[in-house]
């Protein structure tokens, strides 16, 4: 296992060990925690929960594109698929909240294994196209499968009780549970990135033949990263469907895949906080523009164009460059 530092983006001072990385991010993380704990008393908790779910989804996606370098165009498959399974588990099988969410996550992980196994063989645009094709097939399956409720979706999903004890009907209680889930996912990803496994992933991204020549089975690492990304996307999706008590086709549509790409791009590819910022911003923008209906897609498209042309590092990426520390 290597302990050499990985090549850092230009202009960013890097600590010699991963401990330094963690230490330098302590303050932003603390800020995030405090913000998360206080926010529901100021802002409508349901809105915040939406942001948290998408933030987790974006972080999971960022793991794949930012650290492994694979652009998947079909991540809605995991997000929405887990949403359906979690909803079904809660509503039809009557599972309590945590088991339902786990069901969703496990489903997403399995789907991730299948899709990943098929898609990892190819790279770049081919990889993106395969994930898109498989996601489309899944979308059409969901459209027709009776258990998904087709166009209506699965409605009236009960929130149930956490651990059989705490009722989740109150928005505030639900919020803190979702916050806990988000923090768990976030720190899990953080741990993965700043681990030997994470170092190998970065090595594979930077120069795959060299990593292979060092004896690492790059395909295995890519697949594991893919499954983790899928599972955490599933965690986000399953939580979302139970919080909103609704699992619908929108969650498996390719526009959701596009949305999460935009969130990560806007926030900053390959940064720690980027996906969160991106998710928060996009959810806000969509809420503001909801009254204008059709203009939402125009704004999203314009954001894509602007980001790709002039703003490739994203908000946190630019901030990171200015502050000269990794974020």
């Amino acid at each position: 296992m290597t302990t050499q530092p990985v090549e850092a983006p230009a202009g960013v001072k890097r600590g010699v060990s991963r401990r330094d990385d963690v230490r330098s991010l302590r303050i932003p993380m603390l800020a995030m925690l405090v913000l998360g704990l206080l926010a529901p008393f100021v802002v409508y908790p349901v809105f915040l929960m939406k942001m948290l779910c998408f933030a987790l989804f974006a972080c999971a996606f960022n793991l794949l594109i930012g650290y492994v370098g694979l652009l998947s165009f079909g991540h809605a498959l995991f997000f929405g698929g887990a949403g359906y399974l979690a909803g079904h588990a809660a509503k039809v099988w009557g599972l309590p909240f945590e088991l339902a969410v786990l069901t969703g996550t496990a489903t997403a992980a399995l789907l991730g294994l299948a899709v990943g196994w098929l898609a990892i063989r190819r790279q770049g645009i081919y990889f993106a196209m395969i994930t898109l094709a498989l996601a489309q097939m899944f979308y059409f399956y969901c459209l027709r499968a009776p258990f998904t409720g087709g166009e209506d979706g699965i409605q009236g999903i009960p929130r149930g009780k956490l651990l059989g004890l705490v009722s989740l009907d109150s928005n505030l209680t639900m919020y803190f549970v979702v916050l806990a889930i988000f923090l768990f996912g976030f720190f899990f990803i953080f741990r993965v990135i700043h681990s030997p496994f994470g170092q190998v992933m970065k090595a594979v991204r930077e120069n795959e033949p060299r990593a292979v020549s060092l004896g690492y089975k790059s395909d295995h690492y890519k697949l594991i990263a893919f499954v983790i990304s899928a599972a955490l996307s599933g965690l986000a999706g399953g939580t979302k469907s139970i919080v909103f008590q609704l699992a619908s086709l929108t969650d498996v549509h390719w526009s959701t895949s596009g949305e999460v790409i935009l969130m990560v791009l806007l926030g900053g590819l390959g940064t720690v906080f980027g996906p969160i910022v991106g998710a928060v911003l996009i959810v806000c923008v969509e809420s503001y523009l909801a009254d204008l209906g059709g203009w939402v897609t125009v704004v999203q498209g314009a954001l894509f164009v602007v980001c790709v042309l002039a703003f490739r590092r994203g908000i946190i990426g630019e901030l990171s460059r200015v502050l000269r520390r990794p974020l």
């Binding site: 094709a133 097939m137 596009g258 897609t297 999203q300 164009v305």
Partner: protein
């Protein structure tokens, strides 16, 4: 009545013919994409939106300038082609040298913008566009009634495909282009203005899409989302055919139309997904595509 798998042979022939007609459409549409992606390595996700723009311009010409189908066939591709060249010159050129996936994201964003704007001004159910007088009506072929217009589409498609293939594979211009994508610096050293060549080629690819749009207007109605529905299928066609091969896209387009047509007869519910199944299979077995050059 003779039957094949329970389907009367007459019905089968008519379905095959319909499939061929649709296939010619796919071929025509994927032609522009094949040129752009195959030769320029630009992943042009806004191809569908530009196709829609072609139809939209045709409709606008009809409504505001009273110019019918025939002038539109000429004007719309030129207008949209120029727009395409503008896109290439101002935006895509800046992405040269970067990961091609950025090109995908940029064009994806452009598609969202173009479609969103069109949607806001023209609604979603779309506008009708009539088949031109000279091509309306149809012939009774015995086993089915073939609308003249659909026959016309097949004709144009075959002609254009042949023309494009010929130009790219057999003329000097095509050779310059293929060389330019492989080694622009060297080609430029020979005195050929590579950036202009690329811009013009992109414009031509876009013009092909717009032309397909004008041809589609009488059949599918002019509606802002007509491109979004097709773009993924068209990409699949190009990927299956081989992302570098014009011939591959043409053959795949027609073949896919026929396969889809047969699926509609025997298992219609799957007709939407059959193209993706094939694409996934091809990518697993022969990732360069059926006619592709490099893996």
């Amino acid at each position: 009545m003779t039957t094949v798998f329970g389907v009367p042979i007459q019905a089968l022939f008519s379905q095959l013919l319909v499939g061929l007609i649709n296939g010619s459409f796919y071929a025509l549409l994927s032609l522009g994409l094949a040129v752009i992606f195959g030769l320029l390595n630009i992943i042009n996700f806004c191809h569908g939106a530009l196709y829609m723009l072609g139809a939209l311009v045709a409709w606008l010409l009809l409504h505001f300038l009273d110019l019918g189908y025939w002038p539109a066939l000429l004007i719309a591709p030129i207008v949209v082609g120029l727009f395409g060249m503008l896109i290439e010159r101002t935006m895509l050129r800046r992405l040269q040298g970067l990961d091609p996936l950025f090109g995908l994201l940029l064009t994806f964003g452009l598609a969202l913008v173009i479609q969103g704007v069109a949607r806001n001004y023209f609604g979603v159910s779309g506008e009708p566009y009539d088949v031109p007088e000279q091509l309306s009506g149809g012939k009774n072929l015995g086993f089915m009634f073939l609308p003249n217009y659909r026959g016309w589409v097949v004709l144009v498609s075959v002609l254009l495909c042949a023309l494009t293939w010929f130009v790219t594979e057999r003329t000097r211009m095509g050779a310059y282009l293929r060389a330019a994508t492989e080694n622009p610096i060297l080609v430029q050293a020979f005195g050929i203005n590579v950036p202009v060549l690329i811009t013009v080629t992109y414009g031509l690819g876009v013009a092909l899409a717009a032309l397909a749009g004008v041809m589609a207007a009488p059949i599918y109605r002019v509606n802002p989302l007509m491109g979004a529905d097709l773009i993924i299928v068209v990409f699949a066609v190009v990927v299956i055919g081989g992302m570098g091969s014009i011939l591959g896209s043409i053959v795949t387009g027609f073949a896919l139309g026929v396969i889809e047509g047969l699926t509609k007869v025997f298992y219609p519910e799957a007709s939407n997904t059959v193209v993706f199944v094939i694409m996934a299979l091809v990518l697993l077995v022969k990732p360069a595509g059926l006619f592709g050059r490099t893996a």
